[in-house]
Symmetry: C2
Subunit: 586 residues, 2 copies
């Protein structure tokens, strides 16, 4: 692990010690980029996934679920663009032969040598001060042992930046350098100072061969995202789920990316889990034909309940709000722990209308937790072209609405759409065909995509919950208490049950009875060994919100001691009062 | 699909029509061996997995969970034996170039040409009649169009079987033929009658390259089973979970096998999901030292509650019973739908003490649903040897018990173990080292492995639930009702809510209120369109156990019509009575 990860050490240590997360294949020396969730870790992860599924699918009538295969027809990745463009530019050092992502070679420099160069460029008016500061934010420390190499790079940087247009973002600087092969001339190896090869694209999809013949023609990929299966199965889901646009399709599952340098613990790994929703909406033009208007953000709409006349902009904002509410109210991340970052027009993919990154302030920097993208009709259109099957939705209400339009009204509408599309550099003929199709009630739905990573969310939850605090023990001595302040919904164990002593059969049996009763409702933990204080500490470390102790008074009046994790307050309650209380909070 | 699969047609058709199962990548022509679960299919599968997790992990104190990565260190598959021996013998036709599993080429013949040859061999005393009948059972029909090829094979069979020992099983016949390369001389291609190559091993693990360098040294595998991660992480789980042997580790997750001929719908696919438990127990010798005896099946033990003196045989039987109970009482498979098949000594893997296959009578034949194997200490021993880390458990009680043994008692015990091991063709020195270790309280646990396939269980559940019955509709006409009699626990939707009419606001709003209330507890479905009878039929087809209709009487007395799927009986109940009833059944 690099120095950047030291900030995570207390969390990594707790996760290992208490069985949240282990290195994959640890007994074999580990396997970079792969992680295993232990007994409490898998419960935490399962709870996050279950809460997402419940709120995204089960409590909504307009979302259907899907569980598609990880390996799919390779043509799907041709259609999606992943086969051709899902690549990181990668450099190799000609001297020490180390491979690294070209942009990460930049990372290594940016607060060290390049920070000086960037400062010079800002002063010179060629780099934008705000954007540069933003880009550098959260990228960790330079590699101190490489100072000679850095110094050499620094002396050469001004000559490199000579061709760069004024006020470029650091990303643009890098792209331009990579495009003209200049990076080779630019960056020495951050490890040894040697000359680097120019960046070459490296496809991040894992490849395998399906079937018995080891022929590249039989290559298939491990999905790098779950989303494409949703697009490929759109016609089947439409035909079987009784849904009408607008509606969504949700999926939770593993994805794989052959990251060149997996890092930041479980944040960027080669195997990870996603929770993705593709929410299909009408094109704004269809909304206008149906409702005579399109509600935009300028109308300052109430986002609590979807409305038929919403355009894509409002739907996008709606899902940003929905996701934030879920992160705060269900997962328990405080509002001030994350940043809503709206990508600037020059950062957006060519087909995207808008994209919001919800970023979390991890100890190693502010990093993306999930993205909510307005992807237009790009994906379904690509698939329709590649597979030859229609990805259109037939909107009966739209067809009926269009029947009332006379030729003049149709032409006016067509002209308006053509003008709009042309202003967005789109094809006039395509605009005309699109409108003609609309008049028949047919269109390819647009999509809003909230896409979250389970592992990075679990990591954010752990980082947010982790606390060390000085408390005073029963004997008045002060000690450090490590506690995970997990929200009850995601906590692996909800209630721990302790018999005060284990050598009194009546008390012990009563406690077993309480445990068995609670265990049928929630994931519970039985602990009969050690002092109560030590048992509390063990539960604090795995984030168990409540501990119940059965003591001698229980045998008299049926009340138990209920101890709350965060306040450490203890109160007596009957079992039924306790069940009611916990039920209300879960 | 082959003829064998026609028996599944009604189920395949329903699964497609109602959104249980789609072909993976169907819009792209499908992708053999891969399947997607649609909106109701993924709920069914999730319910099966959740019920397994609940009963195997959450309701037990002696089982911990794990969620490990699919791609692990390749050395794990060397240790497990999969890298070297996880292979199917495969033949290619030299004429038509078709590839097939050598044993499946046999399948194609066994009820056609070879059935005559096998009958002759039985009559001749060289094949065992019972075993041959057993082996042939459930293997489908011969390929009628290939009669000329079959006839040719038939005339050559007696010469081939000349060298086979008397009373061989068909499996032995095949193995011998494959070993001496005789299969080439034996079987013509079942597709074209051409000559076949001799069987060659084909490793069924999918291979990929991890990291940026496309070097075979960086090859890694997609796991072909979830079990090995449990063994590899045994030390970590032992250290963090506060468990003592006996205890288990459970995992649910995807596995991958590059099947040459995936078939029988989702039964044998290339990507599938497993639910595996590795339950670690003390070696019988440790039990004897601790308790002075080892309880075996000969003692006719009560299997309801584990006992300290149980030997491996009783633990194995215990898990067979646990699994059967779960399949019957939770999943809802009737006892007479499955067969408990105890593998014969010659069928067992060399390290296995016993293995029970729970077989289900699928429409295409009796096939394995899950296996419960007593695997001795083979797996942990293999990993200890390969990774160099200790896989031993330190049993303090055992060490204390052994302290009381004098030298004579130790030698008597050692002699007994040596005699026992020698009788099982095991090494004397290893037996001595094992006993010396035991006296120190240390041993590598043995393991009982109940291993179930989620997809084949889901398929069994669908096959078992599927029924077509003639019923009389409201107008007295008879019609065929298709119904899935799913157990409520696994049913995708628990309750459907219908407003009798949708144009009475008061009734409609009341119905929405009922729906919203029920939806917070269970997965519910709202349907307001069409006649009530048609709405019932739609719910019957996805196996929804209860339908609730809100009608005019509801507005008067608060009662709703509760219609039960299987009996189609309707009764009036208050909402609270309904909730209580459903709660009791879930």
């Amino acid at each position: 692990m690099s120095e950047k990860e030291n900030v995570l050490d207390p969390i990594v240590s707790l996760c290992k010690r208490r069985g949240f997360i282990f290195q994959s294949s640890e007994a074999y020396g580990g396997f970079a980029g792969f992680w295993d969730y232990g007994p409490v870790g898998c419960e935490l992860k399962n709870n996050i996934k279950a809460a997402w599924w419940r709120h995204t699918v089960r409590l909504r009538e307009d979302v259907a679920g899907l569980d598609a295969s990880i390996i799919m027809h390779p043509a799907i990745w041709k259609a999606s663009g992943h086969a051709d463009t899902f690549a990181d530019p990668m450099c190799m050092c000609r001297a020490c032969k180390k491979l690294m992502r070209a942009d990460q070679a930049w990372d290594i420099f940016d607060e060290g040598a390049t920070s000086a160069a960037l400062a010079a460029l800002i002063a010179d008016g060629r780099a934008d001060a705000g954007k540069t500061a933003n880009w550098c934010k959260g990228r960790g420390k330079p590699l101190a042992p490489n100072l000679p190499a850095i110094a050499r790079a620094e002396t050469r940087l001004p000559e490199i930046f000579g061709d760069i247009p004024a006020c470029a973002t650091p990303r643009e600087l890098f792209t331009l350098l990579a495009q003209d092969g200049g990076a080779e001339a630019v960056l020495p190896c951050p490890h040894c100072g040697g000359a680097m090869t120019e960046p070459r694209p490296f496809n991040m999809m894992f490849t395998t061969i399906v079937g018995p013949v080891a022929d590249p023609a039989n290559a298939a990929y491990l999905r790098p995202e779950t989303a494409q299966a949703i697009f490929a199965q759109f016609p089947n889901i439409l035909a079987t789920s009784r849904q009408q646009v607008p509606f969504g399709v949700a999926q939770v599952g593993k994805s794989f990316r052959n990251e060149i340098t997996p890092r930041n613990y479980t944040f960027r790994s080669r195997e990870f889990e996603q929770m993705e929703l593709e929410f299909f909406i009408k094109p704004d033009e269809a909304v206008e034909l149906l409702h005579g208007k399109v509600i935009t953000l300028a109308d300052n709409p109430d986002l609590s309940e979807p409305q038929p006349a919403w355009g894509w902009e409002v739907w996008h904002k709606y899902w940003v709000e929905q996701r934030k509410q879920w992160l705060m109210n269900v997962v328990g991340l405080p509002e001030n722990s994350f940043v809503e970052y709206w990508q600037t027009p020059d950062e957006l993919a060519h087909y995207a209308r808008a994209c919001v990154d919800i970023q979390y302030a991890f100890p190693f920097g502010v990093q993306e937790l999930e993205g909510i993208a307005a992807r237009s009709d790009f994906d379904l259109t690509q698939h329709q072209q590649h597979c030859g099957k229609s990805m259109e939705f037939f909107d009966e209400a739209l067809k009926i609405a269009c029947k009332n339009l006379d030729a003049a009204a149709r032409e006016t509408f067509t002209q308006k759409v053509v003008a709009d599309w042309t202003s967005r550099h789109k094809d006039t003929e395509k605009a005309r065909a699109f409108v003609a199709n609309l008049f028949e009630g047919k269109y390819i739905p647009h999509v809003i995509e909230p896409s979250a990573g389970v592992d990075r969310l679990a990591l954010a939850v752990l980082c947010n919950a982790y606390a060390e605090e000085t408390v005073t023990d029963e004997k008045g001595a002060s000690e450090v208490r490590t506690v995970l302040r997990l929200s009850p919904v995601v906590a692996p164990v909800k209630i721990a049950v302790f018999p005060l002593v284990k050598n009194k059969p009546e008390l012990y049996e009563h406690a077993r009875g309480v445990f068995k009763k609670l265990q049928r409702r929630w994931n519970c933990f039985w602990d009969e060994s050690g002092a109560i204080g030590r048992r509390y500490r063990r539960m604090d470390e795995i984030g168990t919100p409540w501990c119940v102790t059965i003591d001698f008074q229980t045998l008299e009046d049926g009340t138990v001691t209920l101890r709350e994790r965060d306040s450490m307050k203890q109160e007596r309650a009957t079992l039924n009062a306790l069940i009611e209380k916990v039920d209300g909070l879960l």
